[in-house]
Symmetry: C2
Amino acid sequence: MLVVGIDPGLSRCGYGVVRQKGRVTEAVAAGVIRTDKDDPVPQRLHELHTEMVELLNDYQPDAVAIEQVLFQVNVRTAMGVGQASGVAMAAGAGAGAEVFEYSPTQIKKAITGWGGADKEQMSQMVQTLLRLPEPLKPVDAADAVAVALCHLAHAPAASRIQAAV
Amino acid sequence: MLVVGIDPGLSRCGYGVVRQKGRVTEAVAAGVIRTDKDDPVPQRLHELHTEMVELLNDYQPDAVAIEQVLFQVNVRTAMGVGQASGVAMAAGAGAGAEVFEYSPTQIKKAITGWGGADKEQMSQMVQTLLRLPEPLKPVDAADAVAVALCHLAHAPAASRIQAAV
């Protein structure tokens, strides 16, 4: 089973491609799609959509897992992140993948066992779970990998067995 | 100058196509793109994006004007509307049109002269401005036409003159 995790954002949108086959979970790719703060928002959303469609076309994932956008103190940022997540969701559905949303708490709990885990703990567990020689950078890419791992932890055992055959 | 106005929404996304040539402003088309509430949100956003791309491809507007999403009492609805507006913006930029956002107050003020106008006043002024025999229905389509008319009122005189040549 191949999962693309997404940490949505307009300036920086993290993605992490994770494959699970039998008991082995491995990171296939991770990175950040950036758009220029000086460009108009519609242009940036279009670029994000185009790059996301290309990414999903390259990897053909079974599932796309996106971190749910919660309303923070900065309402303007939340709207940008919400628009970016909408564009990413549309790209995911357009690529024929099943799209899932997970809250920050669900993701932290799935990775560290505790919904209140801090960034350091998350980074360390992502490194451990994927047996990486060093912490994954940048942080948006690591966060996106965590979303993908969260989906694998939540995916029904049946579909994981099926994917492993 | 051809403008597509958009009243963004996930269940109902209104659109209104308005042409201004010289002193004549006319409604070319108006309607609502609907998505099924029972379908998953990513699928609905993908459908909205696809239909919006087709609409813009059909009309090739010079500008796309979108009503800005403000945070209402219902945070879950605001997020859906925000995601829909993000998808519409991406489609607009992808179609090569300039994309503009106007607040509900700006739109009301441009159409009726007063930022606190109610739905009845707005509907009546849209009918008057476009010399329609009866009020435009459904309301989402009329709202979208109002956004397009707001853009024409804000567009610099120079570009209106240029478009009229």
